[in-house]
Amino acid sequence: MYDKDKIIPGLIVFVGLVTFPLWYGFGGGGKLPVPEKPTNSKECVMPTAEMRTSHMVMLNQWRDDIVRMGGARLGQTADGTQYIRSLQKGCMKCHTSKKKFCDECHTYAAVNPYCWDCHIQPKEAN
């Protein structure tokens, strides 16, 4: 092998870089998110699976519809329960804590939604 003094360090750096997740997470999977479930309600505005994947789209549609198009404030679930289409007055009526609900998954998946750029973040103890 020629140029060992350059190629072997280069290979070590390469292997170090591509195995980054392995040694970064060595010795544990970290904490899995456990979002707090609401106590005052059993049903959300959409089925759970759909909320998990697409709640951000729904929130975006609410905003566009209400703020820009003058849409209705009230919405209805599949079984006819009425709810307020609003992050703070709707969602957070059941999911009361940003920290214990929203942030659980958002931190885990490294998502930083810009909801609170406009909305005033609720004050929470702890």
Binding site: M1, D3, L11, T53, A109, A110, N112
Partner: protein
Amino acid sequence: MRVLYSLAIVLALMLLAYTGVEVLPGGRTLFGVVLPWLAFVTFLFFFVAKIVDWAKSPVPFRIPTTCGQENSLPWIKQNKLDCPSTTAGVWGRMFLEIFLFRSLFRNTRAEIHEGPKLVYGSSKYLWLFGLMFHYSFLVIVLRHMRLFTNPVPFFVHALEFGDGFLQVGAPPIYITDLVFLGAVTFLFLRRVVLPAIRYISLPADYFPLFLIFGIGLTGVAMRYFFRVDVISIKTLTHGLVTFQFSAPLESISSLFFVHLFLVTTLMAYFPFSKLMHLGGVFLSPTRNMANNSRMVRHINPWNDPSIKPHSYAAYEDDFREFMVEAGLPVEKELEPKADENAPAASE
């Protein structure tokens, strides 16, 4: 034909992953855990093996491409980057090559106009789109580290922020996603539209393009169109690197497994393909050698030390008689011999 062949393979791979996950019992474990790990080990092992193999090949001659004035007399200005004669110059040249693709930047195009007149012009499209493609690919790979680390390191947050800076839609559109798909499309069209490039393009050129485009397309589809359960996916992907296989595989969309299988294929295919230019660019002797053969004597590493240098003077000493006899010019004439001249005079 070569295009369709490559496209058909990529489509078949996607179909294979989809049906495997949907139909096969244990298909999710196979496509989600077993194959990705096998592919990663394959990638790592054969990548290193390929580099070691290349490193074993001697490069006995100085073969740098001289793209500018070489080091010469003191009053002739040397082009230190395009024809370096020092190690520092080589580092500069390699830096520009690896990070900014300088040799593509120097690309020219030849055209024949009426006359006939041959015209050369600068052609920067390949450089521009190549650069866009590679850097957006790099950002996308680094961004994906959010699925493989917990807690997520700072640089991923920084990339997420910068990439989603436009704040269009929810989830926000990534700039690199658009640039990436656009650049791959350009690189593909370049091969199809330009007749000369099409003539030299092989399935080995089209296949990686389709594969990478497929990865980009399924990724974009998962983020913007058919949204998937990211938390379950991260439980799987982060589990892959921490050896904790407890992810709820059933709640992950089949689209994710198609995306993952294309990445799996890319990893396994990588060390055996043209994509090895990732390692090869560092080892290209036309770029990483100093053009100093007028200053340094480079000795061929496999020269037999028992063979001594044999000068021309010594060669002529060995064969002078035969050379004179054949009428070849010699530097030193034959010494006149007395017994040779005497009989000639008597006859």
